[in-house]
Subunit: 145 residues, 2 copies
């Protein structure tokens, strides 16, 4: 990737070995990208399917994929952003175990890559509120999926 | 179960159908059992294995099982508790999708029930701190596992 979109962070996370079952970090309140706590929820995405573009007006997303594999695409069309016009793509899985922080104001869509369960955890600074998000169809932002 | 241990909550959670992959609630800051945000992490437990008794002095646990099946046993030996001496057992899975809130001061151990990945999410009010917990061997509290 050439450049990371302004406000986006891609942070390595620890997986701690335990003979009875490993522990996986997700987010601490002292971590980079933490912007307050509103809600944590899971979202799943079937193999090959894409949940299309969504933009949050106030919510910061902190995304972790503890099982399966998910491809996230972010698009920056913010008027005053130093990275306006840029796309970023990140593929998250337990094998490449990272947290992706997505600031409000950019577009994000994601696709299921694993053939079985693909699960993301979002640690959000706000509770779900349909009024703080905008949804558009996949075709409205052209990308080589 | 006769009676729930004082401070323990067992709360039904929503699973929201989506043709591309469902959404699963975990915890909102306005939910019962929420006691502040310190950290979220995952822990896994292999089939048949038991992670033995642990007591937190200050941490409230909020446990959700998005995949697999995990059996949790809680034991209350708090001197002034109205439920002193009681054991509670809860089995969590996506099929019986609930959140288990465990207050500080009680003992908890858990066992992997599913034959594949058993994963819990803990939404904790504190960051991990080995000084605020006590660990003892499984045999130190007798229970019919």
């Amino acid at each position: 990737m050439d450049k990371v979109i302004d406000g986006v962070f891609y942070t390595n996370l620890k997986q701690i070995y335990n003979p009875k079952g490993d522990v996986f970090h997700a987010m601490k309140q002292s971590d980079i990208g933490f912007n307050g706590f509103g809600e944590v929820y899971f979202s799943s995405i079937h193999y090959g399917d894409i949940k299309p573009w969504k933009k949050h007006l106030h919510m910061t997303l902190n995304l972790v994929v503890p099982i399966g594999c998910i491809r996230f695409v972010i698009y920056d069309d913010r008027e005053k952003s130093p990275t306006k016009g840029l796309f970023n793509e990140f593929t998250l899985s337990p094998e490449k175990y990272c947290r992706l922080t997505v600031p409000p104001g950019v577009w994000m869509a994601f696709q299921g890559v694993g053939r079985e369960l693909n699960l993301l955890l979002n640690v959000a600074n706000l509770e779900h509120d349909p009024n703080e998000m905008v949804r558009i169809d996949l075709e409205e932002i052209k990308y080589g999926w």
